[in-house]
Symmetry: C2
Subunit: 170 residues, 2 copies
C-alpha cells in the first residue's frame, strides 16, 4: 500500500510559505490507518517495551494504538500546564523562542524500556525533549518512531544514538 | 478489574476547588489500559462503524485505539485553528465565555455511522458540539463514549437521543 498518497499537502499552514503534510486524510481511511499502524508496530513486537510515550497531540493517536497493541502502558508527553500532577519539564528551541514539554514525574520507572512516538519528524527538537524526559526518569529510549519524516530538515541529526524509524520520508 | 482504582484524584486542577480525575495513571498501566479499551470496544464490535471521532486531546488516545480495533477511520475533532484544511466549526458554552471545536469539512461522508469518543463526560458541551459537527456533514452519531462520567454534573441531559456509554461513573 502506497501510504504517501493518503497524505494531503496543505499550503501556507501553520504560516505562509510552509507546505504542511496533513496526515488526517490517512487516519480517516480505515485501511490506510490500520496498514500504517501495523507497519510501525512490526519492528517492536519482540522488543518487550514497557511504555509508549506519545507526544501531544497527534502522537496520542499513533502512540495509543502502539501501546495497546504492544500490551504496555501509554504515557502522554504534553505541552506546558496540561498535565494535572507533578511534572518534570524539558525546554526546546523553536524557530523563534522556546517551548517546553512535560511528563508526570511518576510516568516512567527506572529501567523501563520506552518507545517515543510522534506523527512528524521535522527539526527533531520536540522528540529530543521527550527522549530526555524519559531518561531523566531513568527510562531507556529503545526507539523514536514517526509516521512522516521531513528529511530535508535533517531532524535525525538531532537524535544521535537513538534508533529512529519513519514510514514515509519526504 | 476495578478500573476506578487506577484513576488519580488531583485537587485544585485546573483551578482551585476542582478535584480533577486524572486518567493518565490508568493509561500508563498496560493491563488497565487494555482492559478499559476492550470494555469500551465491546458494545461496538458488531455495529459496522465507519468513523471514530476523537476529541482533542485525551480523546485521541482512546479514539485512536477504538478506530484501529474497529477497522475504521479516525477523525480528530480539534480546538480552533489546529486543523490545517478547510473546517466546519461549532461553538459551545463554557462556565465563562465560549469555545469552539472543528472538523475537516471532508472528514465524514453523508450516511456514515460515527462513534464520538472522549475521556471524560462533564457538562457535555464538548461532546454535543462534536456530535453536531458530525451531523452537519451528514453523518449519523451511533454512540458517544467516555471512559469517565461525572454524573453529578448531569452531562447526559445535554445529549438526549444519543446512546451514551461510560465505563467509570462518579
Amino acid at each position: 500500500m502506497d501510504l504517501e498518497k493518503y497524505i494531503r499537502d496543505v499550503p501556507d499552514f501553520p504560516k505562509k510559505g510552509i507546505l504542511f503534510k496533513d496526515i488526517t486524510t490517512l487516519l480517516q481511511d480505515g485501511d490506510a490507518f490500520r496498514h500504517a499502524m501495523n507497519r510501525m508496530l512490526k519492528k517492536h513486537l519482540e522488543a518487550k517495551i514497557d511504555k509508549v510515550v506519545g507526544i501531544e497531540a497527534r502522537g496520542f493517536v499513533l502512540g495509543g494504538v502502539m501501546a495497546y497493541k504492544l500490551g504496555c502502558g501509554f504515557v502522554p508527553a504534553r505541552k506546558l500546564g496540561k498535565l494535572p500532577y507533578r511534572c518534570i519539564r524539558e525546554e526546546y528551541t523553536l524557530e523563534y523562542g522556546t517551548n517546553a514539554l512535560e511528563l508526570h514525574e511518576d510516568a516512567i520507572r527506572p529501567g523501563e524500556k520506552v518507545l517515543v512516538v510522534d506523527d512528524l519528524l521535522a527539526t527533531g527538537g520536540t522528540a529530543l525533549a521527550a527522549a530526555k524526559l524519559v531518561e531523566k526518569l531513568g527510562g531507556k529510549v529503545t526507539g523514536i518512531d514517526f509516521l512522516v519524516e521531513l528529511a530535508f530538515l535533517n531532524g535525525r541529526a538531532k537524535l544521535p544514538g537513538y534508533p529512529v524509524h519513519s514510514l514515509i520520508t519526504y
